[in-house]
Every structure is written in C-alpha cells, then in structure tokens.
C-alpha cells in the first residue's frame, strides 16, 4: 500500500461556502457517505477541508503576506490522505468524490518516500 494525497481545488458548492442550506446539507451528506465508505474499506487516513483564506510565509526572509489570492477555482479547498495500491487505483477511487458534482478539481499526488 502506498499513500496518496488528494488535493481539492474549487468546487463552488463546498460545504461551508454553499449558497443555500438545502444544497449544503445534501453536499455534506454526500461527503459523509463517500468518506464513510473509504473509511470502512480502510482507504482513508485523514483529511480536512480548508477555509478560503490564510497567510503565506515566503523564502529565506520568511516574508509573511496575506493570501492565497487566486481565483476560487484554483484555490485549494481541502485535502485527504488515502491508501491505494498505485496511482491508477488512487485515481479510480477519486472518481467517487463529491467534488466533481460541485464542478471542482482534484489532484492526485503520491507521497514522496524519503530515501537515505
């Protein structure tokens, strides 16, 4: 088993940004069902949604700026760590994610093992 990260971007119907509560409820339910399923199959490691705000700390000078100021569509809106056999399986698993219903985007990234 290898570890992968799902990096979510956008998704205009994201749980906490939802415009009306009925669709927000539906949306939360969808995430709960999906993540519950992953958990039961032993796939899910952890994950959190992120607020569309924060700070950036940059370079050798550790320069602090407000940000990230990118378009909502580009904004990282959350992450998940999962277990999968390989990247193909990780991609297949990701297709059940509710982010696509919200017209969002998902990036699958294998965890880098640090070699001695």
């Amino acid at each position: 088993m290898e570890k992968f990260m799902y990096l979510f971007r956008g998704g205009d119907n994201h749980a906490y940004n939802a415009k009306d509560s009925e669709s927000a409820k539906k949306n939360m339910q969808a995430w709960m069902t999906w993540m519950g399923g992953l958990q039961q199959k032993g796939i899910l490691v952890s994950g959190e949604p992120l607020q569309p705000t924060g700070k950036q700390v940059n370079g050798t000078k550790k320069l602090v700026t407000d940000g990230p100021f990118v378009e909502a569509k580009e904004m990282v809106s959350g992450f998940l760590i999962i277990n999968a056999k390989d990247i193909n399986e990780a991609v297949e698993i990701s297709k059940g994610c509710p982010i696509f219903v919200e017209n969002g985007m998902l990036e699958v990234r294998p965890v880098q093992k640090m070699e001695m």
Binding site: A15, K25, M28, Q29, W31, M32, M35, G36, Q39, L44, S46, G47, E48, P49, G78, L80
Partner: protein
C-alpha cells in the same frame, strides 16, 4: 413575583428535561463511546443549566427540544474538536468525528429522530450486557436512558445516594475492563440480549408499580419510562418480538389500574375490591392491541402468560366473572417453566377461585420455605378468610403483620384482622 415565575418554569421544564436528557445522553455516549459516559452526562447537565439560564429571562422557545439538541450538539462538537475526552473514542462512528469534512454532518445526523431512537436502543442493549448484574442493569438504564440522578435512583431503590454512587463506580470499571460498547450484539446473541432488555424493563416497571415505593411521582415516572422504552423496542423490526408486545400489553393492563390500587388515604385496595369503573379503558384497549400483536410466531414467552392473566383481569366485568380457569392454565404454564415460589402462591390463590378455597389452602400448605414470607402468609390467611375460617385467618394475618415494614401493607392487614368476626 420573579420567584413564582421561576418555579413555574422549573415545573414546566422538569418533565421535558428528564425525557430529553435520557435521549441526549444516549446519543452522546454513542458518539464518545461507553467509557466516556461522564463527559456525555456533563454535556447534558451543562445544556440543561444553560437552558434554564436563558429561558429564565424570556420565554421557553417554541421548540424546546430542538433548542436543547442544538445546544448539546454544539457542546459536543467543542469537546470533540478540543479532544478533551478522558478515554479514547471508540464507537461505531468514531471515524466520522476525526475530520471536519464529516464531524458536523455526522452530529447533525446523530441528532435526527431516527438516529436518536437507534442510539437509545443501542444504549438499552449495552446497559443489559451480561457482564452487569441485574441490579446494575436497572441502575444504568435509570441513569442513562431515563435521566435520573443518583438521588432519584436511590429513592427508586429505597437505598441511599452513597450506595448508588459506589454502584456506578463499579459499573464504570466494568465498562473499561470488559470493553463494553454500544455495538449491537451479533445475530446469535441478539435474542438472548433482547430477553435481558425485556426482563430489565419488566423489573423497572415493577419497581414503579410496586406499592413498597412510597413516592407516587417516582412510581408513575418509572412505569412511564419502562413503557416508553418498551414502545421504542416495538418500533424497530430487530426488537419488535412477540414477547416485546406481550410485555407492553402486560404494562398497559397494569397501569390501567394504577389509580384504583390505592384509596385516597394511600391504603392498598385489593383487586377484588377495586372500582372497575375507574380503570383506564384506553390503557386496557392498548393492552388488547399489543396482546393481539404478540400472538405471532411459535414462541410462548413468560410475558405471554403474564399478559393473558392481566388481560383476563382487565377485561372481566366483575371479579366473579373473571375467567379463572384460563388464568389457572397460564399459571400452570408459568410454573412448569420456573419453580418460582411466588408464582406457586399466586397459582394456589387462583385455584381457590376455580376449585374452592379449601383446595387452595391445601396447595399453599404444601409449599415449603415460605413460612417467613409476608405475601405467602397474607395469601394463606385470605384463603382461610374466604373459606369462612376466621379464627385461623386472624392468626395467620397476625403472623403476616410481623413480616412487613410497609405502612400500606400493615394497614391492609389490620383492616383484614378487624374484618375477622371470630
């Protein structure tokens, strides 16, 4: 002025709080896991205090239940986010509590009507885990599902607070040692555990129905709670068994007589002397309904026999018109399964109505080991009395008198002795 307003408020919320706290505690224990029982109770306590605090200044919200649930939910979320729990969470939904993606939706879900009912069912099964003694099972149900405090439980058991607190301490140790959870038992253990749950509800009900409990309010509350939980069992296909309906029928018949069992001075009125017009007809109708529903499947449970007996009493026009023969059959069925001396005493009394009081006396005198039992002596004396042997009756009533401390029972026997003519 303000004081009277507040006491009015306390009265209004008292019943609501008791009912709702049992539900909320079950949900929170399901969320946090059984070992975190104290945190669950603390949250509910805080919620109720906050409600009193807020409601004191305005009026009670239109939907007080929803208000309480939402407050409890927020406190629970706070505790979960700060990971302030004493013991690691180990529950069937713990994985949903780890991520913000699922935490709030999971809690919303848990506080829906269906899930709250499910949590209470799970709680009932957990409380009746075979590792707990019978006494511990009843105590635990009272504390968690019925929302009673140690003081009230002590009153219900005619015990003191310290004893009850010690009992809780042992219960909590047991939960940790045996790793008892709110998961449903496996299919093979399910029927057995359901029977344990029913037996415990039966005891809970009897605790309330028994005339040894001096406080009327406690009695009514215990009976009401036992019935509420039993109804909950009938609402779920897993636990809606023939015996569940039989037990509920039995309870309905018993409560139909609740107000005629004691006269206005608090003295016991025996079945024979009760005013049948005062029996609660809608409770009897409910009993008949559940008794009908209990008649499916092969099994004939003890509760079936007891419910049929109670139904004959409840539906009989007069004491004399009671179908004593059918009741005797039921007692024979009960006695063939358990060699229970109290059942044998009851059976003998019924035999008296079917075959004559001399026969009953002969049966009673055959029973051994009961000579120091109040109920046995009172029944035997009653049979002598009905057989017209007042002298003998008076003597045995005298013996019964020395065997009880209950004021109501002493008074009953005194009246009986006075009624003996010779």
């Amino acid at each position: 002025m303000e004081d009277s307003g507040n006491s009015e408020l306390y009265k209004t919320v008292d019943h609501l709080f008791r009912q709702e706290s049992g539900k909320m505690v079950s949900v929170l224990i399901r969320l946090f896991g059984f070992p975190n029982i104290e945190q669950a109770e603390d949250i509910v306590q805080d919620t109720l205090l906050k409600a009193l605090e807020v409601w004191k200044w305005g009026k009670i919200p239109d939907n007080p239940q929803a208000w309480l649930y939402s407050a409890a939910k927020n406190k629970a979320i706070d505790v979960l986010r700060r990971q302030k729990l004493k013991h690691k969470i180990d529950s069937d939904i713990s994985y949903l509590l780890k991520s913000e993606y699922t935490l709030v939706p999971a809690l919303n879900e848990m506080f829906t009507e269906n899930e709250m009912k499910d949590s209470q069912l799970r709680m009932m099964f957990a409380c009746c885990h075979p590792s707990f003694t019978q006494e511990a099972q009843v105590t635990l149900i009272l504390k968690t599902l019925c929302g009673l405090g140690s003081k009230e439980i002590a009153a219900a058991f005619l015990s003191n607070e310290e004893t009850i607190q010690k009992r809780f301490y042992r219960i909590k140790e047991k939960i940790k040692e045996e790793n008892i959870s709110l998961d449903y038992p496996g299919a093979d253990a399910m029927i057995q555990r359901s029977d344990a749950v029913l037996k415990t509800l039966y005891l809970l009900f009897n605790e309330g129905y028994s005339s040894s409990q001096p406080e009327k309010l406690i009695r009514e509350d215990l009976c009401e709670e036992a019935m509420r939980l039993c109804i909950l069992l009938t609402e779920n296909p897993k636990t809606n068994l023939p015996q569940t309906n039989a037990l509920l029928a039995l309870m309905c018949y018993q409560v139909s007589r609740f107000n005629t069992r004691l006269d206005d001075k608090g003295l016991i009125v025996l079945l024979k002397d009760q005013d049948r017009r005062q029996w609660n007809l809608s409770a009897i109708a409910k009993g008949n309904e559940y008794l009908d529903k209990s008649a499916f499947g092969e099994a004939f449970h003890d509760f079936h026999a007891e419910a049929v007996i109670a139904s004959q009493h409840a539906n009989a026009e007069t004491y004399e018109k009671t179908d004593w023969k059918l009741i005797l059959d039921m007692y024979n069925a009960l006695l063939s399964r358990h060699n229970n001396p109290m059942v044998a005493v009851n059976r003998a009394v019924v035999l008296g109505e079917v075959e004559g009081y001399d026969k009953a006396i002969a049966e009673l005198e055959k029973l051994s080991g009961l000579s120091e039992n109040f109920y046995y002596n009172a029944s035997l004396a009653e049979m002598y009395m009905r057989a017209g042997k007042h002298g003998k009756a008076r003597m045995i009533y005298g013996k019964a008198l020395s065997l009880t401390a209950s004021i109501a029972e002493i008074e009953l026997i005194r009246r009986k002795i006075n009624a003996c003519t010779t």
